[in-house]
C-alpha cells in the first residue's frame, strides 16, 4: 500500500528523463515512507513508493515476472492473494516472493488483462507488458485507491495523486469550472472529471488498456440491482446467514498483514461491527477514535460502552476547532479538491494519531450505509415518495422529523418550512435523481457565490443532467431504494467518503484503511437483497443489524445513525483563528482567484462569525467550499499567501 506514478509513450518517442519519474514518485512519498523503486526502459517508466505491509522484505516494487517481460507498480492489497496464489501454483506458476503483488503478475500471465476480475481487494496498479507493448491500469471496484491520468503530447501519464502528475513537464494546474460546479452539487467531481482541467480520474471498477497508440477505458465490473418486483430468491433467515458469513470472511482476509492491524471505532453500529469481527482474530485489538467538544458531534459515550463490551485497547483523540483550522491547508493539499465539510480534517488528525502509535493498517466501517441502506437519505426518499402520493397531506411530511434525531436544529424547525425543504422535487417522483434532489439543491446554494466570470464560463451546463446521462440503462427499472443506493455508492462514496475523508487523509500519514463492507462479494449481496430487508419501515440496515447486532451492546444496535461530522465554519471564525483564513477569504484574494464574488463572500463570512455555532447547513457548506477552493488554488495554481 503505497504510491505509484509513471508514464508510457503511446507510440515510440523519446521519453521524459528518469529524473521526472523520480520527482513524480517523490511527490507521493507520504504514501510510502518505507522504500522506493523506479523502472525505466525508454518506452515505459514505472515508479513506486512503498508502505510495507505484506512480505516486508520480499515485496519491493516495481516488481517483475521472472522473465522480465512483465512489470508492475501497485498501490493497495489483493486480499484473496493467498487463495489466488494456491490456484496459480496449481497451474504451474512459480512464485519468488510472498507478496500479493506477485499474484498480479502471475494472474496476468495466466489470464491476460481480465485477471482483474479475480482480484478481491483495494487497488490501483499499472502493469507494463513488454512483449505486447501494452500498459494496463486498473482500479478497484469501489474506488478505495486513487488513480489519476492524462495524455500529454502522446504520452500517457499516471499517478496515485494529482500532485505527482504536476511534476511532469508541461502539465500545469488549472481548476476546471465544470469540476467545481460538480463539487458544489455532488460533493465531489464525477469521475473521470476532477477539479483540474485535463486531469482525469480512472473511475472505480474501470480498466485502462493502452496499446498500438490507442487508449481504451472500460468497466470490468458494474454495480447493478434487481428489477423492481423481482423475487430475491432468499428468505430473511438465509439473507442474515449470508451477510454474517460473508462479512466474517471479508474481515478475515482483511486482517492479512505482516504488521499489526488496528480498527477505527466511531461508536456507531458499522465500525462497532467491524471491530467486533476483527476482535475475533486479535484478542488485544487496538482501537482508535475521535472525540469532539460539541455534544451534537461527540460519540465518546458510545465508544466507551463499546470498548468496555469488546475489551479493546483504546485510544481517543480529542479534536478541537483550532486543530481543524491549523491542519486544514495540509488536508486540502491532500484532498486535491474542494470539500463542503470539515470532517476530512478530523480524520486527518485521527490517522496521524494512528501513525504515532505505530500502526499502519486500520479496519473501518465505511460502506455499510451504502451497501445495506443506512443513510437517512434513503429513508427520506421513501418518506417523500409516500408523501408524494398525497401531496396535500399535512401529517405525512412530519415523519421527516424522525429521520434526523441527531440534528437538534432540525427538530425545532417549523413544520411548514420543513415540508417546503423536503418538498423539493416532490412533483418529480419519476426523476432518477429524486432521492438526492434536496441534498443537491442545498449544496448548489454555493452557486449563489459564483463570480460573474464563473457563471459565464459554465453557462448552460447542468450537472444534474450530466449525472442523469451517466446512469445505467436499467436504472429506471430498479426499486427506488436501489436507485438511491446506486447514486450514493457511485457518487458520494468514491468521490468524497473514500477519497477526501478516506484514502487521502489516511495516506497523508501512511495509514491504510481496510473496509470489510466494501468487499465486492458483500456489495453484490447487498445489492441483491430485497429492499425490505435493507430499510424496513423506518428501520435502516435492517438485515445487517439482525446479522451482526447480537454480539453488540443493545444501545449501539438501537442508536440512530450519526454520520462523521466535525464543526465546520465555527472551526475557522473564532478568536485566534490562523491568519490564512482571513487572507484567503479577503475581497482581494477572492477577486484574485476569480471563482467567487467578493462582496457575497464577505457577507457570508460575517454571518458565519455572527452566528457561530448556529450556522445553517447551507451556509456552512458554502463557507467550507469557498475556503477549500481558495486553498486548492493556493496550493496548486498560484500561492496566495
Amino acid at each position: 500500500m503505497c504510491g505509484i506514478a509513471g508514464y508510457f509513450a503511446l507510440s515510440p518517442r523519446p521519453l521524459a528523463p528518469r529524473e521526472v519519474l523520480s520527482r513524480m514518485v517523490e511527490a507521493v512519498r507520504h504514501r510510502g515512507p518505507d522504500d522506493s523503486g523506479l523502472y525505466y526502459d525508454g518506452r515505459a517508466a514505472l515508479g513506486h513508493r512503498r508502505l510495507s505491509i505484506i512480505d516486508l522484505s520480499g515485496g519491493r516494487q516495481p516488481l517483475s515476472s521472472a522473465d522480465g517481460r512483465l512489470w508492475v507498480t501497485f498501490n493497495g492489497e489483493i486480499f484473496n492473494y493467498v487463495e489466488l496464489r494456491e490456484d496459480l501454483i496449481a497451474r504451474g506458476r512459480a512464485f519468488r516472493t510472498k507478496s500479493d503483488t506477485e499474484t498480479i503478475l502471475h494472474a496476468y500471465a495466466e489470464f491476460g488483462p481480465q485477471c482483474v476480475q479475480s482480484f478481491n481487494g483495494d487497488f490501483a496498479y499499472a502493469l507494463w507488458d513488454r512483449s505486447n507493448h501494452r500498459l494496463v491500469i486498473a482500479r478497484d471496484r469501489m474506488g478505495v485507491r486513487p488513480l489519476y491520468y492524462t495524455v500529454h503530447q502522446g504520452v500517457l501519464v499516471f499517478a496515485s495523486e494529482v500532485k505527482s502528475l504536476f511534476q511532469y513537464p508541461g502539465l500545469r494546474p488549472e481548476l476546471d469550472p465544470l469540476g467545481l460546479d460538480q463539487c458544489f452539487t455532488f460533493w465531489a467531481p464525477l469521475a473521470p472529471r476532477t477539479a483540474f482541467k485535463n486531469i482525469y480520474e480512472l473511475p472505480a471498477g474501470y480498466q485502462l488498456v493502452a496499446e498500438q497508440g490507442v487508449v481504451k477505458i472500460a468497466p470490468y465490473w458494474t454495480l447493478s440491482y434487481p428489477a423492481r418486483g423481482e423475487r430475491a430468491g432468499m428468505s430473511e433467515g438465509e439473507a442474515e446467514e449470508h451477510v454474517k458469513t460473508l462479512l466474517a470472511d471479508a474481515t478475515r482476509i482483511r486482517m492479512r498483514a505482516d504488521v499489526p492491524v488496528g480498527a477505527y471505532l466511531s461508536g456507531g453500529f458499522d465500525s462497532s461491527a467491524t471491530t467486533a469481527l476483527a476482535k475475533e482474530h486479535n484478542e488485544r485489538l487496538r482501537t482508535f477514535s475521535l472525540e469532539f467538544e460539541s455534544p451534537e458531534l461527540d460519540e465518546s459515550a458510545y465508544q466507551r460502552t463499546l470498548v468496555a463490551a469488546l475489551g479493546t485497547d483504546h485510544s481517543a483523540l480529542r479534536c478541537k476547532g483550532p486543530d481543524i483550522a491549523a491542519n486544514f491547508p495540509a488536508v486540502i493539499r491532500h484532498t486535491e479538491r474542494p470539500v463542503v465539510r470539515a470532517a476530512p480534517a478530523a480524520l486527518f488528525l485521527l490517522s496521524r494519531q494512528v501513525r504515532d502509535h505505530g500502526f499502519k493498517v486500520v479496519l473501518t466501517g465505511e460502506g455499510a450505509d451504502e451497501v445495506f441502506g443506512g443513510y437517512d437519505i434513503f429513508k427520506e426518499a421513501l418518506v417523500r415518495r409516500f408523501w408524494a402520493r398525497e401531496p396535500q397531506s399535512k401529517w405525512r411530511p412530519l415523519l421527516l422529523r424522525r429521520l434526523y434525531p441527531y440534528l437538534g436544529g432540525l427538530q425545532s424547525q417549523p413544520a411548514a418550512y420543513l415540508e417546503a425543504f423536503f418538498r423539493t422535487g416532490l412533483a418529480h417522483a419519476d426523476d432518477p435523481l429524486f432521492s438526492h434532489l434536496p441534498r443537491f439543491a442545498l449544496t448548489r446554494r454555493i452557486s449563489q457565490f459564483y463570480s460573474p466570470e464563473l457563471r459565464t464560463t459554465i453557462n448552460g451546463y447542468d450537472p444534474l443532467d450530466d449525472l442523469r446521462a451517466q446512469l445505467p440503462a436499467e436504472f429506471g427499472k430498479w426499486h427506488p431504494l436501489s436507485r438511491a443506493q446506486y447514486l450514493e455508492t457511485r457518487c458520494l462514496l468514491p468521490g468524497y467518503i473514500l477519497s477526501s475523508q478516506g484514502d487521502r487523509v489516511a495516506m497523508a500519514h501512511a495509514v491504510e484503511g481496510r473496509f470489510p463492507f466494501l468487499d465486492h462479494r458483500v456489495v453484490e449481496l447487498g445489492a441483491a437483497l430485497p429492499p425490505g430487508l435493507k430499510v424496513r419501515g423506518l428501520r435502516e440496515k435492517y438485515v445487517l443489524r439482525r446479522a451482526l447486532g447480537r454480539e453488540l451492546p443493545r444501545e449501539i444496535v438501537e442508536r440512530p445513525k450519526q454520520p462523521y461530522r466535525a464543526p465546520d465554519s465555527e472551526s475557522f471564525v473564532h478568536e485566534g483563528a490562523p491568519g490564512y483564513v482571513d487572507a484567503l477569504l479577503s475581497p482581494e484574494a477572492i477577486a484574485r482567484t476569480g471563482y467567487f464574488e467578493p462582496r457575497a463572500v464577505t457577507r457570508l463570512v460575517k454571518k458565519c462569525r455572527a452566528m457561530r455555532g448556529a450556522v445553517s447547513a447551507g451556509d456552512n457548506m458554502a463557507f467550507m467550499a469557498i475556503l477549500s477552493t481558495q486553498l486548492v488554488h493556493s496550493s496548486y495554481v498560484e500561492p496566495l499567501i
Binding site: Q413, P414, Y417, Q448, F449, P452, E597, S616, G618
Partner: protein, 91 residues
Amino acid sequence: MKQDICLAVRRFISENFLFRDDGEAITHDASLLDAGIIDSTGVLELVSFLETTFGIAVQDEEMLPENLDSIRAISNYVSRKLESSKAQLVV
C-alpha cells in the same frame, strides 16, 4: 411605518440570505421559499431577527408561509403584531 419595516426586512434578507446585490432584486411578493432564498433553517434566523428588531413574539403556529414567505407578507405580519400589542396596551 410599514415602509420602514419593509426596508429593514429587505436589507436583512439581502445581507443574510442573498449575499449578493448585483441587481437580483426580490419583488415585494416573490415567494422566498420558491426562490430558494429562505429555507427551514433560514426561517428561524428570520424569526429571530423580527423578534429582536421589532420586539414582537412569534408564536409557533404563526410560523407559516402566509406570514413569512414574502417581503410584503412579513411586513404585514409584523405590522399586525405591533398593532395588536398596541391595542393590548391601550386596554
